[in-house]
Symmetry: C2
Subunit: 302 residues, 2 copies
Amino acid sequence: MEARHLRYALALAEHQHFGRAAASLGIAQPPLSTQIAALEREVGERLFDRTARGVFPTAAGDAFLARARGALAEMSLALVDAGRAARGETGRLRLGFIGSALLDPLPGVIGRFRRTHPEVRMTLQELDSSAGSAALLAGELDVAVGRGSPRGTGAEQLVTVPIGADHLVAAVSVGHPFAGQRSVDVERLAREPLVVSADAAGSYLRSVFEPAVLDGATLARDIHTIAGLAACCAGVGLGPERMRLITRKDLRFCAVEPRFRLPDLQMSFRAADSSPVLAAFLSVVRQNCPDVGGRLDELLGV
Amino acid sequence: MEARHLRYALALAEHQHFGRAAASLGIAQPPLSTQIAALEREVGERLFDRTARGVFPTAAGDAFLARARGALAEMSLALVDAGRAARGETGRLRLGFIGSALLDPLPGVIGRFRRTHPEVRMTLQELDSSAGSAALLAGELDVAVGRGSPRGTGAEQLVTVPIGADHLVAAVSVGHPFAGQRSVDVERLAREPLVVSADAAGSYLRSVFEPAVLDGATLARDIHTIAGLAACCAGVGLGPERMRLITRKDLRFCAVEPRFRLPDLQMSFRAADSSPVLAAFLSVVRQNCPDVGGRLDELLGV
DNA sequence: CCTCCGCGATACTTCCTACGTATAGTGATG
DNA sequence: CATCACTATACGTAGGAAGTATCGCGGAGG
């Protein structure tokens, strides 16, 4: 049985007349008769009653036609759905990110993507940079946002683009002596109790402070915790500049002198991932983060 | 797009290999390549990634394959459903009947039909004989059970078979003088207050009693009401012998002398009705009412 | 009652296209 | 670099779907 048989049977049921049904199909009447006969032979039942007043489906014909309509509808949906999937309008995107990314570039990107691709199911989860690249390589994520380029086994299977630069800033409670200052020296900071992210304490902060200073610091899992601890006088919080987007009445920020540039925020995905949803997401990222457009343009082959 | 394209795409997705998929389809590899290419051209998207490790569906391919499975499933169901409809296993049967038929032949017939054809939706309604044939002709019923052969306009469009003979019996309250008697004479009955069905009072009872007797009788709409009225001493109930199947402690029956044969119970349907459900129902009737088998055998062409 | 007409089925031819065979192109692997 | 495995391409063939002509049948009308 071929789709042709279904189309012919439906046309015949609609026109109740072999000649007119054939004309509507753009064929002559005899082949229509032949094909309907072949269909009835395959089904093993007479599907149409040929009467003098017209051609009408039998009970078996009615049952058959209902399914035939369903089958043809599925076939057109196959075409439509394939196109939508190819354009990244349907599907799934699993995004992992560090807390600070949720402050600046992600809200705009995610919001715009959800508006333009409402039928893509998104999974969002906060995790640290190294867990992000590991989950990417394990196939558990499609996009990871972290700080610094992924290193280690399999990192060459990932493509990574910078999506935002950052400098170190200090966060203090509103009652702290630093609270009114526009900036504070690193040497001064080293004499204060510090609150830093566990991630940073193990990596880039080691090029700013002596190990002994960091070993005495309070560790926090994410940027919001640093801000909260600093606000309640647990110490001087250290984090990226976008931490200033956290607005609390009991919190003040100071630039750190000399300026220290943190590793960039980076967005990674599997180089071998050809998912149209990913491509659509990257295209939204390019529109929302003009700074990194050049790099993505190459990757998207524009 | 033809069903062949769907089958080929599914086989390719299953085997992840053009050669083996082609073999499983019973064709050579080049035509499979050609057909898949044609399908991808029609859909407008690449549906499979040909890699060194195998052939894998793209995102568009996955979406397409899901619909393709649905479409092919509908097509096989079209065959199955047509067969079931042709055998009368699915569909609808609208049955109208007079109350007395519900006492004897219908419970067995309907019960057996429902067991053997559980997916046929049945509509049952009690109505009098003339309303039954009218509803048949109006296309509102498929089968009608009444007493006596339908007469009047359009009756020749109906086929009618007898499904049960009946004689007149009297029903009286347990306290009535007739209660202990095996039989009672018609002349004796004529001097009692009577309870009869409105239908019968207007037709066959007129050949048993004087019009004056019937004009004084209490009229009931159906056989159960006759029995109820007789039981509470409203008069002597008259009805078909199968009324004896109504067992109430406060009710007794007497044969009527001389025996008077009522018009037979008849089952009617449209002669032009070729519904397989009707045929299946008639076949059950034939098995359940051996008396009328001969007549139905002819009609069913056995 | 016969004829005519409309419609579907059948007979036969034509042509498209799906299939088979042979082979070239391509990417991975030793 | 050679080889191998696999898919794509080229081309001839054959099966079947469509076209043309005609038959058979059932209903309407004279």
